[in-house]
């Protein structure tokens, strides 16, 4: 029903991603807004500048796994702006019989893997990176993790394997927004230093501003994805970035917006 409406967009911008996040979460009256806003600039860099995806089913496309699946709305926005998802289909977000749920489903074109259960994406990404190497393909694998997701032990199993086998074509990005569902990460399970933790596992780690798309793009372009260890970008972000009353507020992990809040949020994002 949306097939003919797909259009190639000119720009995948963080501002447009944020607009879509706000519009659709308002329409569907659902939460996870803060988590989605926090990764808008990262997805703008990936889908605007980095990912090599001639078509969503090209075998040698770069793979992308949104391991923090609860930010799926940001991914849908990026896919729509990229032209892989008809914009009208966004209106089905969280509707009955929709492919656009709160967490992404691989059945949807442009979604490589279904996610939603934290701690599984890095393992899948590691397998995908190993496959690319075995097939002698230049494709790379990107995986976006949440900082709270690093609570999951399984993630560190994958981190060990990827570094042991020097999967240099694997790039993890940690959305370090310092929050999780019930509190601030420092209060729940403190990780003294995220980059040092990854370095201890043998990864090439660097910290950067997760809201500076240009910096993220530069950093990824400078990575050696042909040899050496796997890479992690620890992206310092602000939960709820771009909407003043959501920023750093725990309640916006789950809370939906009122009409008044929506109008203010849209105005702030438009004027940012």
């Amino acid at each position: 029903m949306f097939g003919t409406e797909t259009k190639k967009s000119t720009a995948v911008s963080a501002r447009q991603i944020r607009r879509i996040i706000l519009e659709q979460s308002r329409r569907a009256h659902v939460g996870h807004i803060g988590s989605a806003l926090s990764v808008a600039d990262i997805l703008a860099a990936l889908y605007g500048q980095i990912l090599n995806i001639p078509a969503p089913d090209s075998p040698d496309r770069d793979r992308f796994i949104l391991s923090k699946g609860h930010a799926a709305l940001a991914l849908y926005a990026a896919l729509a702006l990229k032209g892989f998802l008809p914009e009208a289909q966004l209106e089905t977000f969280c509707a009955d019989a929709s492919l656009l749920g709160v967490h992404p489903e691989h059945v949807l074109d442009g979604v490589d893997f279904s996610t939603g259960s934290l701690g599984q994406g890095l393992s899948i990404a590691t397998g995908a990176a190993l496959a690319a190497r075995m097939q002698d393909s230049p494709r790379r694998v990107f995986v976006l993790l949440s900082d709270a997701e690093c609570n999951e032990g399984s993630l560190w199993e994958a981190a060990l394997f990827a570094s042991h086998h020097k999967l240099s074509n694997l790039v993890a990005i940690v959305d370090l927004n310092s929050q999780q569902a019930l509190g601030y990460t420092d209060e729940v399970l403190r990780i003294p230093s995220m980059p040092k933790l990854w370095q201890a596992y043998g990864w090439d780690a660097q910290e950067l501003d997760g809201h500076d798309s240009a910096q993220i793009t530069r950093a990824i372009r400078n990575l050696d994805t042909a040899a050496g260890p796997p890479h992690v970008l620890v992206a310092k972000t602000v939960f709820g970035k771009g909407v003043s009353f959501m920023e750093r507020q725990i309640k916006w992990h789950y809370w939906p917006m009122s009409e008044t809040e929506f109008k203010q949020a849209m105005a702030e994002v438009a004027n940012a």
């Binding site: 075998p59 893997f113 599984q120 393992s123 899948i124 397998g127 995908a128 060990l160 394997f161 042991h164």
Partner: protein
């Protein structure tokens, strides 16, 4: 069964470059032939079964057919949610090789006894579950299922000598195999229990009781038509499984009897009690849980006696 399976897998891998073998740091003296022949397609994932299944998911999406190898409890239960959200949800051709059906790791204790792996994996319609009864059938089953489009779980014996001559290696998805014919009693054996059921049938024959013995090796897709056909011919059937009676063969057969309103009483032989701390050999544990050949024969005679009295 492990060595036979790896031999067949190696033979397949010679002509099929998509086959990859991952192990969770297990399979000493078993996986080496594959590793030596295909070093670039063999990976020891370390003691990290969740990641092993997750990686297999990523490999399969890229076109590989990954086989993952571990002891059945560690292969099926530790990474259970990875199996669910990975190969099952994505319908990818990951093959899980679970070694040590039931009590085969006898004195290793309850952490190593696979008594609920099938119950855990049974709810997934797209996950093929194969429980070979002997080495030859395991090889034949592998040849018939290795390239299925969806995931497969193989519940395997660690006994490399296990042979059930009556089976002649036969295997077909959604079918049972007849191992022995008799008119008094129907014994339906899950996977490796075929040998025990045949031993029971032999003992029963000496007492004048003639049994039909069926091998149930294709657990999903389940051989519903075959089972219904055989159950409809008997008034007493005994299911035999080195598995919990809940969620395994006994449950499957009960469902068929109930849904088709068959006039057959079913006695489920399998594990009904929690571990009590006492370990021992496979033979000891099978006797204790009523699934040794002798225990099965005793149960059969008791139940036939009961049936006579209650008529």
């Amino acid at each position: 069964m492990r060595k036979a399976l790896i031999a067949t897998l190696s033979a397949l891998a010679r002509r099929e470059p998509r086959i990859v073998l991952l192990t969770g740091d297990l399979g000493y003296t078993v996986v080496e032939p594959f590793r030596e022949e295909f070093p670039e397609r063999f990976f020891n994932a370390g003691v990290a079964e969740q990641n092993m299944i997750g990686m297999a998911t990523g490999l399969a999406e890229s076109g590989f057919i990954p086989f993952v190898y571990s002891i059945a409890t560690f292969a099926a239960l530790r990474p259970y949610e990875f199996i669910r959200n990975g190969p099952v949800l994505h319908r990818l051709p990951v093959r899980v090789l679970g070694i040590g059906a039931g009590f085969e790791y006898g004195s290793a204790g309850p952490t190593h006894h696979a008594l609920e792996d099938l119950a855990a994996l049974r709810p997934y319609p797209g996950l093929t579950l194969v429980c070979p009864a002997d080495c030859t059938q395991a090889q034949n089953a592998l040849l018939k299922t290795w390239d299925l489009p969806g995931p497969v779980y193989y519940r395997l014996s660690k006994n490399d000598q296990l042979q059930v001559p009556e089976l002649e290696g036969r295997f077909d998805l959604a079918r049972t195999q007849v191992l022995r014919n008799g008119e008094d009693l129907l014994l339906i054996a899950l996977g490796t229990m075929a040998a025990n059921a045949l031993a029971a049938a032999e003992a029963l024959a000496l007492k004048g009781v003639q049994s039909t013995v069926l091998a149930l090796s294709s657990f999903n897709p389940s051989p519903d038509s075959d089972l219904a056909e055989w159950l409809s011919r008997f008034s007493l059937a005994i299911s035999v499984e080195s598995h919990s009676v809940s969620g395994g063969a006994g449950s499957l057969i009960s469902e068929i009897i109930a849904e088709r309103a068959l006039n057959c009483r079913l006695v489920r032989c399998g594990v009904r009690t929690a571990p009590d701390g006492l370990s021992g050999s496979t033979a000891y544990l099978e006797e204790k849980h009523g699934i040794s050949g002798e225990a099965l024969a005793r149960t059969a005679l008791r139940e036939m006696e009961y049936a006579r009295y209650s008529k």
